[in-house]
């Protein structure tokens, strides 16, 4: 039993390093159930790998737009548009970006500044199913509407059906909300 115990503990530690619940689930199952992995094809990171001005190194998770660790996703709870046919700031083809949103404040490790991030939902097609990411920094209950990521923010669009979420820089924070 000690060997299994040990193996479980190591697997759990390794898995606990990941961030999102679904990727955790994935990892968990992976360690125990069986499936994917080698050779797992390289997944393209963001769209293009050249460093963008003012953005973190795209070789680090904080700089990869389809990693849950990407700095702009600090307050997100949803599927990443960048894994679903869109990018970190554009929606997947055929969806509509909702004009009303919730707001987070995230620190850009490239310049150490806090930016105001608008998390616009992409709407009109069913759930993307890839890159579920939940970080919740500063998330508030539903009645504190502009900072609540549980709300289906597909409002002001033709359909309330939720697909995924983008993270758009809309300002520099001078005071934390």
């Amino acid at each position: 039993m000690t060997r299994i115990d040990d193996w479980m503990a190591r697997a759990a530690r390794q898995l606990a390093r990941r961030t999102s619940r679904r990727s955790l689930l994935a990892g968990l199952g992976g360690a125990l159930l069986g499936g994917a992995a080698i050779p797992l094809l390289p997944v393209s990171r963001a769209f293009g790998r050249e460093p963008q001005p003012g953005e973190p190194d795209p070789e680090t998770p904080e700089g990869q737009a389809n990693a849950c660790e990407y700095w702009r996703y600090c307050s997100i709870d949803g599927f990443l548009s960048s894994c679903c046919g869109g990018t970190h700031n554009s929606c997947p083809p055929g969806t509509s970006m909702a004009p009303v949103t919730w707001i987070g404040t995230c620190r850009n490790p490239a310049d150490g500044k806090e930016y105001v991030i608008s998390y616009n939902d992409c709407c009109g097609k069913g759930p993307c199913g890839k890159c579920f990411c939940r970080r919740n920094e500063g998330d508030k209950p539903v009645y504190y509407t502009p900072k609540s990521n549980d709300i289906d923010w597909c409002m002001g669009t033709d359909s309330v059906v939720y697909n995924s979420t983008v993270a758009v820089v809309v300002g520099v924070a001078v005071e934390k909300g």
Partner: protein, 423 residues
């Protein structure tokens, strides 16, 4: 509200929002527009495949080279049925909806999507009686010139609905008692399989109306060794595989179908060992290399839906097997999310996955498809496993796994706009 490039700052003013925004200084990241929606580069890469989700009611467009999702097409109830013309930058999705989800008023439509935007651009209402089944193939078809779509209806009376895709309207319904399914066999002709083992050939005029309907002699015995619905096209021929592994080629180049001599996918010895064709999408053809791919398993009687453990390659010119490729587990998912072991545990996860797939007859590959290009990929998936594995379709070499984000992978469609011909 219209989808515009408005600035979020304006949006924010909807809220009495406590946070102050400073104008960006030179060193700050620039403010970004909201409202942007991505489009897809056309023509599509030949290694992009459509994977239909029976539970999620959608089709995902996935790059089998790097696993990237290009986008999705939602559909309604049933296994998604999509059609891919080569002459228009469009995709057709046949959908069934109820006004209250699973009840209420039924609407069947053929929705026309733009290939670059994946947005619906038109909708054609069709009679609300299309056939729905667990068989992912031969329920809808496109004429060879992309002019007409034919949709198989079953109420249980059997018919075809014909849609004119140039004029974007439903034009006619053609009865076909005793016959089912639909196979494209030219610009103005479709074929159907009949219960007595014969074929029905339906001819249309240029307006999409029936001008002729002819039943052939039976070419197989549906009682003793039926052909499956899951035929593959090879030029003017359709290849119908039987439960026992016989290929019945039918040549549709002339005015009447010509039934060529059947040949077997298996040797006598292999048949004795129980090797059979099985799964839900079990035959594929790579036209340029004249290669046939068959999804094979070892099973007993009534095992025709059992997933495959190997894909066998055949030279269609010589009617000879050229290769046996042992399949790997396409990779499991949970609620669409890949179950991965990561760099440390990947080998173990892999090893278990393959072991399990081969040890248990009901877990494995249900669908195969092959891309149409000169460096073709053999693409495999399992209904319940979730992942998609790809192989070099010339050498059989395993390339890797990608994930669709689907709950189930019920059907794979390969489409290359650069390659007219059979779909």
């Amino acid at each position: 509200m219209p989808r515009t490039n408005r600035r979020t700052r304006r949006t924010l003013s909807i809220w009495a929002f406590a946070l102050l925004l400073a104008g960006p200084s030179d060193a700050d990241l620039p403010l970004e527009p909201v409202g942007r929606v991505a489009t897809i580069k056309t023509p599509y890469s030949p290694h992009w495949v459509f994977v239909g989700d029976a539970l999620g009611h959608r089709t995902a467009l996935i790059d089998v080279e790097d696993g990237r999702m290009l986008g999705t097409l939602d559909s309604g109830f049933g296994i998604p049925q999509t059609l891919h013309p080569t002459r228009r930058s469009e995709i057709y999705v046949i959908e069934t909806h109820y006004s209250r989800g699973s009840r209420g008023e039924r609407s069947d439509v053929l929705t026309i999507y733009d290939k670059a935007s994946l947005a619906p651009i038109a909708e054609v209402a069709i009679p609300p009686k299309r056939a729905l089944s667990a068989t992912p193939v031969a329920h809808v078809a496109l004429s060879d010139d992309d002019r007409f779509a034919a949709i198989f209806n079953l109420t249980p009376a059997s018919s075809l609905s014909i849609v004119d895709l140039e004029q974007r309207r439903f034009v006619s319904e053609i009865q076909m008692p005793g016959c089912s399914l639909v196979y494209p066999i030219g610009e103005r002709r479709f074929a159907a399989l009949c219960m007595n083992g014969s074929l029905l050939v339906i001819r249309l005029d240029d307006s999409g109306r029936e001008v002729g309907k002819q039943r052939s002699q039976p070419f197989f015995d549906p009682e003793t060794d039926p052909v499956t619905e899951k035929a593959a096209r090879f030029g003017d021929r359709w290849l119908f595989p039987s439960f026992d592994g016989w290929i019945h080629p039918v040549d549709f180049s002339g005015p009447e179908p010509v039934f060529e001599e059947r040949w077997s996918l298996t040797s006598e010895r292999e048949r004795a060992d129980g090797w059979k064709i099985g799964g839900y999408q079990h035959l594929a053809v790579h036209e340029k290399s004249a290669t046939l791919y068959a999804l094979m398993h070892q099973g007993g009687i009534d095992s025709h839906k059992q997933p495959g453990s190997e894909v066998w390659f055949y030279d269609l010119t010589e009617r000879e097997r050229t290769r046996r490729v042992e399949l790997v587990n396409p990779g499991f998912t949970y609620l669409g999310v890949p179950i991965e072991g990561g760099p440390t545990w990947g080998w173990l996860v892999d090893w278990i996955g393959d072991r399990v797939m081969h040890a248990i007859p009901d877990i494995g590959v249900d669908s195969i498809a092959v891309t149409l290009d000169d460096a073709p990929r053999l693409v495999t998936s399992g209904m319940f496993s979730g992942g998609i594995a790809s192989f070099d379709a010339l050498t059989g070499e395993f390339i890797g796994r990608v994930f669709s984000g689907n709950l189930t992978n019920a059907v794979i469609q390969t489409a290359s706009p650069a390659t007219p011909g059979p779909r």
